[in-house]
């Protein structure tokens, strides 16, 4: 994407690439956790794009795939800890769907480490920031999502 990599500057003014991460965060836990990270002024990449969803169980693999094909280098899905789902079982179902997605991506030659499912509670601002930082490190290692350059996508 042409708008990618606008943040950060290397010496001499050249733009430094930073991976773009789309996060689907459940409104009850992970989104609130992200909010806490913000008000606590915890540092993580400005290339993180949060999308608030009602439940991690509402995140169809189609959304994750869409995010990757539309320019994300990695995707985080954040949900309530097992047992804590506001809708009782949404996160358990997300876990199974995510397992399918990971196997599928790997099978089609897309590194499954680009996508991550994490349980982050409303009180875990630190875990949220830490998770995004870890993801950024991982994605820098993996490099930009390679299919983004494919014309025939």
């Amino acid at each position: 994407m042409s708008t990618k990599g606008k943040t950060g500057k290397k010496e001499g003014g050249a733009k430094e690439w930073r991976p773009r991460i789309v996060g689907f965060l459940c409104t009850w836990c992970s989104y609130t956790g992200a909010d806490l990270a913000g008000v606590s002024r915890l540092q993580y990449t400005p290339e993180f794009i949060p999308i608030r969803v009602m439940c991690s169980g509402a995140v169809d693999p189609a959304y994750v795939i869409k995010a990757l094909l539309e320019g994300a280098d990695g995707v985080l899905v954040g949900g309530c800890h097992p047992g804590d789902c506001h809708y009782l079982t949404g996160n358990y179902k997300a876990r199974r769907r995510f397992a399918v997605l990971g196997e599928l991506l790997e099978g089609m030659g897309i590194d499954p480490r680009r996508v991550r499912l994490e349980w982050i509670s409303a009180s875990e601002g630190g875990k949220f920031a830490q998770t995004v930082r870890e993801m950024e490190r991982q994605l820098i290692e993996l490099g930009p999502f390679p299919l983004a350059k494919e014309v025939l996508l």
């Binding site: 795939i65 079982t89 995510f98 099978g107 030659g109």
Partner: protein
């Protein structure tokens, strides 16, 4: 427990004719009210499913046809829909189609109480367009579909009511193997002769299944080499014209309202231009990779590897080859096998609290 019945070949008929006579008898004696079966076009030019309620129409029935007409399981959905009349349907479907029916039963699309599932031991099928070759050419010359060459379950499993058995059968018989009480009742009311399950049957079935497993395993390895490691995925999809035939013929793809027919996947002029501007270049029609990946994510736990998607693809995208690298692996995550049993819940509808897939 399996019950075997002998259906003897009479007066120089072949197994195809004997199987036809079985359907005829079942209808004539009222074992079922309708039969869904492959029917051959005049002169053997082609084959399609037909639903007969009167035995005199069964003259063109080819229950052991070496091709799979599309939409067998889907037609069973229609035939058993509420309000369709209380007739029992005997459906002659290939083992893969029966597996699809099992998935559809679990997804509450087929009412199994009104169906007797008959399934021939399947030696593999050809594309529909090649059907006439199965009459004119020797078996060795048939171009068997890849899905069949790597089929792990060429013999009907426990969900089949009656196998129309050729494996382990004598040359002068069709061996009916009933796996359910309903199947047993069907055989009895059609007038088949009860016998002991011949010992040769189990051995021949085990051999066929082992050969299928080996063929699949070897294709799985090749597919992973090509797609998981080889980066062939996007190039292989490059010829997709997004006709969505693969989706429309898929027996386990059943949503009445489909994501891919919503506005989200059908760009307006403005959004198309926008997107092209943003990306710099845009393949049109758009979202073909998105479509195929999403489809795989949605159906792979239920996919029975029948290969109808690939057969329906006008540009020859190797979908079966792609799926072979992930189908079993994805189902193995949950200890699940699509089509094995109506007792096993579809993996994406249930969960265990303590499981971990990482």
């Amino acid at each position: 427990m399996d019950y075997a019945f002998r259906w003897e070949l009479k007066g120089g008929e072949d197994r195809q004719a004997a199987a036809r006579r079985l359907l005829h008898e079942a209808l004539r004696r009222g074992a079922v009210g309708a039969v869904l079966y492959p029917a051959e076009a005049r002169g053997g030019a082609g084959v399609a499913y037909a639903l007969a309620t009167r035995p005199e129409h069964l003259g063109s029935a080819v229950p052991l046809a070496r091709a799979v007409p599309q939409f067998g399981p889907q037609n069973l959905v229609r035939a058993t829909e509420p309000g369709g009349g209380p007739i029992a349907v005997a459906a002659v479907l290939k083992p893969c189609e029966v597996r699809a029916v099992v998935e559809l039963v679990k997804l509450k699309q087929v009412d199994p109480s009104r169906v007797v599932l008959l399934s021939p031991d399947c030696p593999g099928t050809v594309e529909l367009k090649d059907y006439s070759r199965t009459r004119d050419e020797s078996e060795e010359a048939f171009p068997i579909r890849l899905a069949c060459r790597i089929c792990r379950r060429p013999v009907g499993g426990d969900a089949v009511d009656v196998s129309l058995g050729t494996l382990g059968a004598r040359h002068d018989e069709l061996l009916l193997v009933a796996r359910t009480d309903r199947g047993r009742a069907f055989c009895e009311s059609a007038g088949a002769q009860a016998i002991e399950v011949p010992p040769a049957r189990a051995e021949a079935v085990a051999r066929a299944l082992a050969a299928g497993e080996a063929a699949y395993a070897s294709q799985e390895a090749a597919s992973r080499e090509r797609y998981a490691k080889g980066g062939a995925f996007v190039p292989a999809l490059s010829t997709c014209i997004k006709c969505m035939n693969c989706m429309n013929v898929c027996p386990v793809c059943y949503c009445k309202e489909c994501l891919f027919y919503t506005d989200a996947f059908n760009p307006t002029a403005g959004s198309l231009a926008d997107k092209a501007k943003r990306r710099g270049v845009l393949r049109v029609p758009t979202e073909t990779v998105q479509f195929h990946l999403t489809r795989m994510a949605h159906v792979m736990t239920a996919c029975v590897m029948c290969g109808q998607c690939e057969s329906a693809c006008p540009t020859g995208i190797p979908l079966v080859e792609m799926y072979a690298g992930i189908n079993k692996r994805i189902q193995d995550l949950f200890g699940y096998e699509s089509g094995r049993s109506v007792e096993e819940a579809p993996p994406l509808t249930e969960f265990r609290e303590d499981e971990d897939f990482t």
